[in-house]
Symmetry: C2
Subunit: 139 residues, 2 copies
């Protein structure tokens, strides 16, 4: 069974990052990772989806906590936009974004679409964790 297999995978994912596989976390996993395509979301939107038409609700606080834990564990990526709301991405591979200022929508840019021929050395004692390009677009 596919669902069962995913479940096992989620448990392993969680275990490997010191998170107990609770039913809430597994439910969130399903919403985030049981998909063909990666996607972008805000906690608010995720909360709505998860708790829409459901009898057993997952609290907003738990969704916040879990999303943060997944982000720290590297299963989610936080996206840079500066719009007083955190955007996350289930695509954790290195890639970039278009940010449309009009409708505030993000679109992925595959990492191969951008090439950097020169990158600066990080300040002493620091190392580069990641590099992200945001291209702001408008009409």
């Amino acid at each position: 069974m596919i669902i069962n297999d995913n479940l096992k995978m989620y448990v392993q994912k969680l275990r490997s990052s010191n998170l107990r596989p609770t039913k809430q976390r597994l439910k969130i996993c399903k919403f985030l990772f049981d998909r063909k395509k990666t996607f972008h979301f805000t906690v608010e939107a995720l909360n709505k989806k998860i708790n829409k038409n459901k009898t057993t609700k997952v609290s907003l606080a738990t969704i916040y906590n879990t999303v943060e834990a997944f982000t720290n564990a590297g299963y989610l990526k936080e996206i840079l936009t500066s719009k007083n709301k955190s955007y996350y991405d289930t695509n954790i591979k290195s890639h970039h974004h278009f940010y449309d200022e009009g409708n505030k929508e993000l679109t992925d840019i595959h990492y191969s679409q951008i090439k950097l021929s020169k990158v600066p050395v990080p300040p002493k004692g620091k190392k580069i964790k990641n590099l992200e390009v945001v291209i702001r677009i408008q009409k």
Copy 2:
């Protein structure tokens, strides 16, 4: 007098972007642009600086409004960080940033320090407004 000259310059800047040169806006101009070096700030920090040890206060709302107006007019640049707080930059020239996740500090990267050899075409009907690279660093 240097101060006077700057004043004239500010008035002109404001006029050119349809902003009346009020004493509040000029005061904010002084704090933002009367400097040798450009810098990064949050509205909160700017508010503290402007109203520290002063008898005549500029209201927080005015500071928000003015910063937004200056940003729209192109005299300030909003910086991408995803940290639920807006960061602004008085350096409006095209450039990039290091973002230190430890102390949440931003450092400029001169535009010449990063070179892109490949940039994607924007989606149909949209044009590129700006391109910003953020390099996240950590210990």
